[in-house]
């Protein structure tokens, strides 16, 4: 376990909230959800879990996420398998962080 990165998450409000959301959605203990944990590959998230997580993020942070927005944000032309490899907790944290920043900038 990468203690340095884990501390970054612990010190990061968004990260803490996301770990909690993922833990609820997958009924997995929070200590097993680390920054480099891959949500689909390592935690066995199903498509319905991704829907669940997306909805909980929307409710928690108060913005809507488009149907393919998370997928598209990683890059065009990627296969679902490639996406699963890259879809980590820290990636999701960064996605939410950027989303909040862009919404704040819009205001």
């Amino acid at each position: 376990m990468d203690t340095q990165v884990n501390n970054q998450i612990k010190n990061n409000d968004i990260g803490i909230k996301l770990v909690s959301i993922i833990s609820d959605a997958l009924r997995i203990a929070k200590e097993n959800i680390l920054p480099d944990t891959r949500i689909i590959t390592d935690l066995n998230a199903e498509s319905l879990d991704v829907l669940d997580i997306r909805f909980s993020i929307e409710q928690e942070f108060g913005f809507k996420i488009g149907e393919h927005e998370i997928f598209d944000a990683i890059g065009d032309g990627m296969s679902p398998a490639e996406f699963s490899e890259l879809f980590t907790v820290s990636y999701l944290t960064e996605f939410v962080d950027k989303k909040i920043q862009s919404l704040t900038a819009d205001q």
Partner: protein, 435 residues
Amino acid sequence: MNERRVVVTGAGVVSPFGAGKDVYWSNLKEGKSAASLITSFDVTDLPTKFFAKAPLTEIDLENLIEDRKSVKTMSRASKFAMIATQEAVKDSGIETDMIDPYRFGTSMGTSGIGLWDLEYSNRFLELVLNSVRSETEKEQAFSKVWHNMMQNLHPLTPLKALPNIPTAHLAIKYNARGNCQTISTACTSSSQAIGEAYRQIRNGYADVMIAGGSDSHTNPNGIVAFSMLGVLSKNNEEYKTAARPFDSRRDGFMIGEGAAVFLLEEYERSKKRGADIYAEVTGYASTNDAFRLTDEPPDAGGSIRAMELALECAKTNKSSVDYINAHGTGTKMNDKNETYAIKSVFGEDAYSIPVSSTKSMTGHLIAGAGCIEFAACLMAVKDQIIPPTINYEVPDDLCDLDYVPNFSRDAKVSIAQTNSFGFGGQNACLLIKKI
């Protein structure tokens, strides 16, 4: 090839008395009522203010489910089904990973309207109210409601509404890759689910089946819907004794909820592994009245035929039936017609067969009725005790059989029968025999 025999080697129940087959059976034996006044939602303007709700919160139910992640796509009825199945599988002592998965199936009777669980109903109403803040907004309100639902309802909610989801959860958990069926025929659903599972094994398509049913209508929509059809008792004053099948004062049924699930197994296979056997499933038939949706035909033709075909299937002499668990809803029509049908089938023998309606205690579980009453038959055969029809005081001239009034009875029960009849003219009958 000899005809394959089918036995029940495991049972699990969630009843209005709580989780577990023992809780269910001990209450039936003691002739207890599960009736309670409705406090979980406002019934001020509803004609019926009582039901038979299982004393289990959603959290209680989730805590009883082994695979915690699956609960988020489970309606209340679906949770009941999983809990009852877990108990049945454990009770059977079978090692599910030793079963050929392609000869292992699932068959459940369900209603599939888990969308109307209380939580959803309240959320839905809230969204509607939020969408219409003034009289002038009413015209655009509908599209606003749909939009608000899309934005604010949990996206997994629709999965709770599909009738086959409870069954699918069972198939996934136990790796049952064979025949998987969900039968939704109102009040006969789970009797047919058990009967069709029996046929799967008997006819060689499967060796082991998880079979039963589950339902929950203890929510505002359930009370409203059944009230509109005029089938619920409105005897709120005497709610504890209002479910009184075959009594001349009966005025309808009480809504119950729950599940019962069984492990059905091919007889030779169960013998080989030294399983304890509750009983053999020997007869099953289902028919339709092809008459009207909610009226039974005056000649009770469909229900008579279902009983006769089931007896024929079981190769059972009519006089050897020791107990009938009646559909016995407690509506004026059902109890009169069912009595007539039983007399038509059994002739003079009808008067010497104990016939009881356990709905007097549990209420009517709708899609879960047949299976929970099948459980009562299994227990009757196992313990040689016939559960009573409680709240029976004033006889009705048109209902003149032995309804086992108010107290359970020690009796020799080798062959038991259960009847189920439902809206849509559905009829089903199951027979079991002590081994």
